[in-house]
């Protein structure tokens, strides 16, 4: 499924991960009466030093996937192989040791930092927890702050004294403290203004080059993902609908959803923006507790609505399309996938 370059090793391999959240009845018994199918059979690989962008709109399951990968949420089924070990079956103690290598940066830099700790301590905390804060601890924290572009002399300040961009840098410094191999970045720049966002993106870029980190970059913003990711997986209603290198995916998106997503993002270029071809989806996201049969996108698919014959539609309704190579240059889960140049 993945084209891992020769010589690079696969660090993380996610296989058929499913995550359902139970829906319970009211009252005393609270029987399970259904399930929100947040993630349905998701598979992908991440190589050492690589960035995989996981994109999709709200409710597509991208953040849940990221949390399952880190074992912050137990998977309903499937495997998450990190360096060959299945994280879904690992014991607590082993997982705790592995947490050194798997870190996360959250979206909201206002909610994810302890307001009662000075920044020094926020960054030192993971070191202390893992028993790594020794004589040179202070020096380590200073160096981490410098690395992410913060002034070490501000270490005694509290999180509220920093701007949003600076707080996100604190979050990154904390995640880097344990020298992780894999960073899960969950919408790390979505809460920031553009002029600040660019600085954080450049920082992530440099950290990756210098430290050889792998990133699982979760975002709703395709422009940001195109900028930072080597490969991209587009999610819709719990499934990956299309995946490929960033270059491939933007040169020839083949799934109607990817096409709609790309054509919906406004370009900051008046002439281009006004002359663009639009592929619009209709309606709203169906409930993940009761997804449509067959292809999950069919209820909003412009191709289903406008181009397909009745016979062709029957196939969309009855047979869920698999995420496989269909002669489009990269895997896509649409029976009638067709590359289109949109940019």
């Amino acid at each position: 499924m993945t084209t891992v370059e020769q010589g690079t090793r696969t660090l993380l391999s996610v296989r058929n991960v499913v995550k359902h959240f139970p829906i319970r009845s009211k009252g005393l018994v609270r029987r399970q009466i259904g399930a929100v199918q947040a993630v349905s059979d998701v598979s992908f690989d991440l190589a050492e030093g690589e960035t995989l962008g996981l994109v999709g709109e709200s409710g597509c399951g991208k953040s849940t996937t990221a949390r399952v990968v880190l074992n912050l949420l137990p998977a309903t089924s499937g495997e998450v192989l990190y360096k060959g070990r299945d994280l879904t079956k690992i014991g607590r103690g082993d997982m705790r040791a592995l947490r050194r290598e798997l870190q996360i940066v959250f979206q909201d830099p206002y909610a994810s930092l302890d307001p009662r700790l000075p920044v020094n301590e926020i960054i030192a905390e993971p070191l202390r927890i893992h028993g790594l804060y020794r004589e040179d601890g202070r020096e380590q924290v200073r160096r981490l702050m410098q690395t992410v572009g913060l002034k070490p002399e501000h270490g005694n300040r509290y999180a509220h004294e920093f701007s949003g961009g600076q707080r996100q840098r604190i979050g990154i410094a904390r995640a880097l403290a344990l020298r992780p191999k894999l960073l899960v970045l969950d919408e790390p720049v979505s809460a920031l203004d553009v002029s600040i966002q660019a600085g954080v993106l450049n920082l992530l870029d440099e950290l990756q080059t210098e430290l050889g980190l792998s990133y699982l970059f979760v975002s709703h913003d395709l422009s940001v993902v195109r900028h930072i990711a080597d490969r991209i997986a587009v999610m819709y209603l719990g499934s990956i609908v299309e995946t490929g290198t960033a270059e491939e995916l933007f040169a020839g998106p083949a799934h109607p959803y990817t096409q709609a997503l790309i054509s919906a993002i406004p370009l900051p270029d008046p002439r281009k923006e006004r002359a663009r071809e639009r592929i619009t989806v209709v309606g709203d996201l169906p409930s993940p507790a009761d997804p449509p049969s067959g292809c999950r996108f069919r209820t909003r698919c412009p191709k289903f609505a406008n181009e397909l014959s009745d016979a062709e539609r029957t196939r969309c309704v009855e047979e869920p399309p698999a995420l496989v190579e269909r002669g489009q240059g990269h895997p896509v889960s649409c029976h009638y996938a067709e590359r289109r140049a949109l940019l």
Binding site: R143, S195, E210, L211, I265, L267, D269, V281, D284
Partner: protein, 387 residues
């Protein structure tokens, strides 16, 4: 096009809901003129000058995009125009609309204008809709607030408006409560309410910010349709330069409570004359180009409490000189008559890209190299331990 659509719209009505004949001018007339607008809030740290002298003219049928980052004063400007700020806000300047200064009107007179002649669309549709009334009833209420018509006529009009903003099964949907609708649907209802009285001006404050991109595209279409049908002029406030590029005829870029660049969309996007605008454009990752280095603007926006003299962008600006600290540069004409910028060195930006002006370095390379070295040593040990 706009005129015709507007005629068609009112002609199809049983009752004429458009304003008195003659109130409407021709396309290109100034409908709203804001001059010297200044808003100050008291605070424990001293007065907060949220808006420091905003001037603009809105012409009939045009879309004026106001763009700026958080705290630039773009929303406060519009709240001041609508007189929706709390009583503690000190508002100076004038807002001319239909021959009157809105800032001097009585509350009763202002209520007659709000929602009928000037409508507003907010970011979060859940807070602008009342959760205990059906959406149909809320649109009908907006109609009845300004027109003496029966409930039934108002309700029919509500259904028609829902249909216009492309809500499927408008008749049934009119009986839904806001919580039964998705975010995109709710925002359509808010747009329908804004259209209800055929306003002259629609102010849309971040109308698509809370929405997913595919829904945003639908809402932008609905907004454009609303503007087309009512013939209203629109002020579109957003932080999204892409939305501005697609929708706005003219653009006003705000920074620290002041407009720092004004021009047509093409002027501002293709030949920015204020380093801040250039910096914003250079900070944007682009969907339509392969990845290149971004050029962030260093530092962060100034606090608007006790601002020092001089250009507020000075501390972040690569063109900064001593002259910039002496006095704040006025908004002045640059290359084109209508293309204004508040920078002493506007002309020097000619032919320059963001990467020529701004530095793309952010990380401390020495520290990074140190960390990488320590990392190497660390992994070495780890490797041994594991082996």
């Amino acid at each position: 096009m706009t005129e015709r659509a507007s005629e068609k719209f009112t002609a199809s009505e049983e009752i004429d809901l458009s304003p008195a004949p003659g109130a409407r001018g021709a396309k290109g007339d100034v409908v709203l003129e804001v001059s010297g607008l200044d808003v100050t809030f008291p605070s424990a740290d001293g007065p907060v000058r949220a808006v420091r002298g905003v001037d603009y003219r809105l012409h009939r049928g045009e879309v004026l995009g106001i763009v700026g980052e958080s705290g630039s004063g773009k929303s406060v400007t519009s709240m001041a125009v609508m007189r929706l700020l709390p009583g503690t806000a000190q508002v100076k300047g004038s807002v001319r609309f239909d021959g009157k200064d809105l800032l001097t009107l009585s509350e009763a007179e202002m209520t007659r204008i709000r929602g009928s002649r000037i409508a507003m669309i907010f970011q979060d549709p859940m807070t602008s809709l009342n959760p205990v009334y059906t959406v149909g009833a809320q649109i009908a209420e907006a109609v009845r607030a300004h027109h003496d018509v029966s409930r039934q006529v108002a309700m029919d009009r509500a259904v028609e408006l829902l249909d216009r903003v492309r809500i499927p099964n408008a008749k049934d949907r009119a009986n839904s409560y806001p919580h039964e609708l998705s975010g995109g649907m709710r925002q359509r209802v808010v747009i329908a309410i804004a259209m209800a009285n055929d306003p002259d001006v629609i102010i849309a404050d971040e109308p698509t910010t809370a929405l997913d991109v595919t829904v945003q595209a639908q809402i932008l279409e609905a907004l454009a349709a609303a503007q087309d049908v009512t013939g209203a002029a629109m002020v579109l406030i957003t932080h999204d330069l892409g939305v501005i590029a697609g929708q706005a005829d003219r653009v006003m870029v705000m920074y620290a409570g002041k407009p720092v660049e004004v021009g047509t969309a093409e002027e501002v996007f293709y030949t920015p004359r204020m380093p801040y605008t250039l910096g914003l454009l250079g900070s944007l990752p682009r969907l339509d180009r392969p990845s290149e280095r971004l050029t962030p603007i260093p530092g962060s926006p100034p606090s608007v409490v006790n601002m020092p003299p001089g250009c507020p962008f000075g501390p972040r600006c690569p063109k900064h000189t001593e002259r910039c600290d002496e006095s704040e540069p006025e908004l002045r004409a640059t290359t084109g008559a209508g293309h204004l910028a508040a920078c002493h060195y506007a002309e020097t930006l000619e032919g320059q890209e963001a990467a020529d002006v701004f530095d793309s370095e952010v990380a401390d390379h020495e520290a990074l190299a140190g960390l990488a070295a320590a990392e190497g040593a660390g992994t070495g040990r780890d490797g041994e331990a594991r082996a």
